[in-house]
């Protein structure tokens, strides 16, 4: 097996090597950047409440939040349609970005995205099974299937990746995830290609969306994602040690196996819940932590905190863009994230000085 780590180490090195990590100046810059990102997120959230096929001015938006009047049609629109949508965007954006940061640190692989442990494949298969074989058609009915499928397949990946004396090493988990993920993708395609009605559902579900949910449909997702975020952020320090390799991490006092299990639990909660709530939204989990790391350097505490803020901001902007970009109708957020994110990522990677390999 050829090591996948060098790219990652190389990149972080260019940032960390030139500037001492613990200098007060650097931390000051990072804190300032974090405050700026938080402001951007707040702006994005307000814009997400205001922008749409019917534009609502920000004053009315704030009024509907703080002095709600159920006679006012605009207030109703904000509270019933746009608040759930914005909340879901924030929660899912944070979940995907932090989850991506965790999985990239965990597997030490810059190619890793939350789908790598089979979360998306498991959820897609379970939803396809529900639609194509069991014949369920109401959108709300998919949620438990998506959640269950994501969890079950991740468990299978973990079990397969933990065979042998060395336990669940990142490389074994990655390959196990790819192998099982591919197998289940195949089963999904086999079911989808059987009849038109399944394809009809799956082609829409397969492109993530955060629109059309009510607040009740969110309440189950928030605690799951909050737990996942908490566990993930608590693992940040240990992940820093793990980046040096298992032996050195152990010598430095990190509990390697405990950290691994906690990260897996966190990733499963985050990715599984977000795919169940919004469908598989492409690219956020891959791109945000990656780009963040170029700015913050390799310290996972910063990477994850920044991802937590920038992930939702990016997702909300993508969603807003999707609402206004077409003359009629909306472009689903799962499409916009990739269309918007790809040029940004390419532009950034071209600007960056990357050492030749």
């Amino acid at each position: 097996m050829s090591p996948a780590t060098e790219d990652d180490v190389d990149v972080s090195h260019t940032d960390a090597g030139s500037r001492a990590d613990d200098s007060p100046h650097r931390n000051g810059t990072l804190v300032a950047g974090l405050v700026l990102s938080a402001v951007v997120l707040v702006v994005a959230a307000i814009a997400s409440l205001a922008v749409g096929s019917r534009a609502i001015d920000p004053i009315t938006v704030l009024q509907s939040l703080f002095s709600y009047d159920d006679e006012n049609a605009l207030h109703l629109m904000v509270m019933e349609l746009r608040v759930p949508r914005t909340l879901l965007g924030i929660v899912v954006g944070a979940a995907l970005a932090v989850c991506g940061g965790l999985i990239q640190a965990f597997t030490r692989n810059p190619l890793a995205d939350p789908g790598i442990l089979g979360v998306n494949a498991g959820a897609s298969f379970a939803v396809t099974f529900a639609v194509g074989v069991l014949g369920l058609t109401t959108p709300g009915a998919y949620v438990p299937f998506a959640l269950g499928g994501a969890f079950v397949l991740t468990m299978l990946v973990y079990i397969l990746g933990s065979f042998g004396a060395s336990g669940a090493t990142p490389m074994k988990l990655t390959l196990a995830g790819v192998a099982l993920g591919a197998a289940f993708t195949g089963f999904t395609t086999a079911i989808v290609l059987r009849d038109h009605s399944t394809l009809q559902v799956m082609r829409f579900w397969g492109v993530g969306s955060i629109g059309g949910r009510t607040l009740d449909q969110l309440t189950w997702a928030v605690p799951l994602i909050a737990t996942g975020l908490l566990i993930g952020l608590l693992c940040a320090r240990s992940l820093n040690a793990l980046a040096l390799g298992d032996d050195l991490a152990q010598a430095l006092g990190a509990r390697v196996r405990v950290t691994r299990v906690l990260v897996i639990i966190s990733v499963t909660l985050l990715a599984g819940t977000s795919v169940a709530a919004a469908g598989p939204i492409a690219f956020v989990g891959l791109m945000i932590p990656h780009v963040v790391r170029w700015f913050t350097g390799p310290d996972q505490r910063w990477v994850l905190t920044y991802s937590l803020i920038i992930g939702p901001a990016f997702l909300l902007f993508a969603d807003i863009l999707g609402r206004i970009v077409l003359p009629n109708g909306e472009m689903r957020v799962g499409i916009v994230t990739a269309l918007l994110g790809a040029p940004i990522l390419i532009l950034l990677v071209r600007r960056k000085r990357v050492s030749g390999l």
Binding site: E6, T174, F283
Partner: protein, 367 residues
Amino acid sequence: MSIDQKPVTLPDTASAPTAFTPVDHGRRLFRIETSRIAALVSVRAFVVSIVLVVVIVAAGLASMTLGAYEVDFPSVIRAIVDPASDPDIRQVVFEWRLPRVLFAVLCGAALALAGGIFQSLTRNPLGSPDIIGFGIGAQFGVTLVMIVLELNTYMFKAAGALVGGLFTALLVYVLANKNTMSSFRLIIVGIGVSAGLGSLTSWILISVSVEKAMMAATWGAGSLASLGFDQLVPAAIVFAVVTLLSLPLARTLPVLEMGDDAATALGISPGRTRLAAMVFGVALVALVTAAAGPISFIALAAPQISQRLTRSNTPMGTVPVMLTGAALVVVSDAVAQLFAVPVGVVTVSVGGLYLAWLLAAQYARRT
């Protein structure tokens, strides 16, 4: 190198220590030595290759018995070797089913070699020709041709796949190239371009009628059905040429895996090797995609499976890797016929499950 060389000589065990300095390669090897060339062949790789050939032949013959028209095993063999056998059976077996099996061998070998090239090039087990966006580009091209331009013949689809794939690969290469080429930037740009094009394809698919979406989705699964000798001959010629040209990569790419500086010091030009690897890798994938659509996962799985079977230290290799890919596709195509699904659906499932089993077996042994 001339062909008429002395027969292969195996080292005499008694005189071996004195004949050449014994180097511990960490695995059992035997030495092929002629007056002009000498090579070390891993015993394990040799045995694995023989077994794979047997699997390919057996699965190929079995797959030729399957189909709407039942042909039993002896009749299949008779139809292939004896031109004077029952013309109906010969028509079915020789004209219809044999090219399909040969195509499966060819596609598997080409994809596996391409996968080995890209995994070695990117030093990443997840690196596959898809990192340069070819598969996604081809799918986008075909979706445009089939759904937006409404041209639905084999030639137009093949052309759409080729143009879309090559254009995307070129785009990725140009965007990733900035004075020097870095594998890292290539991967990131490839991911970006693929994600963008993939979402454009999904957008087209959710904006049209479900019937049209189904057509594109079916092509996207990859199928070997309805391919005949007419398509096989040109494909085989291109395959042979590209494979021969890429043979030197089996030696140079593993060296490049040690890094540009080490490779340069060992007399290998990193830039030229990398460009050659990408051109040949893309050519192999293009060949398969144009003929059969994107047969997924072989390029990813075959090098990894072969590496584990032969206990090699690089995903790049020629004969065992290509045979692994061929065996995977031939077996998958036989299964695909049993369940009446496109072969790409099965390659993903079979390849995935097999890779999973192989990993489990490997890990369990290391306890």
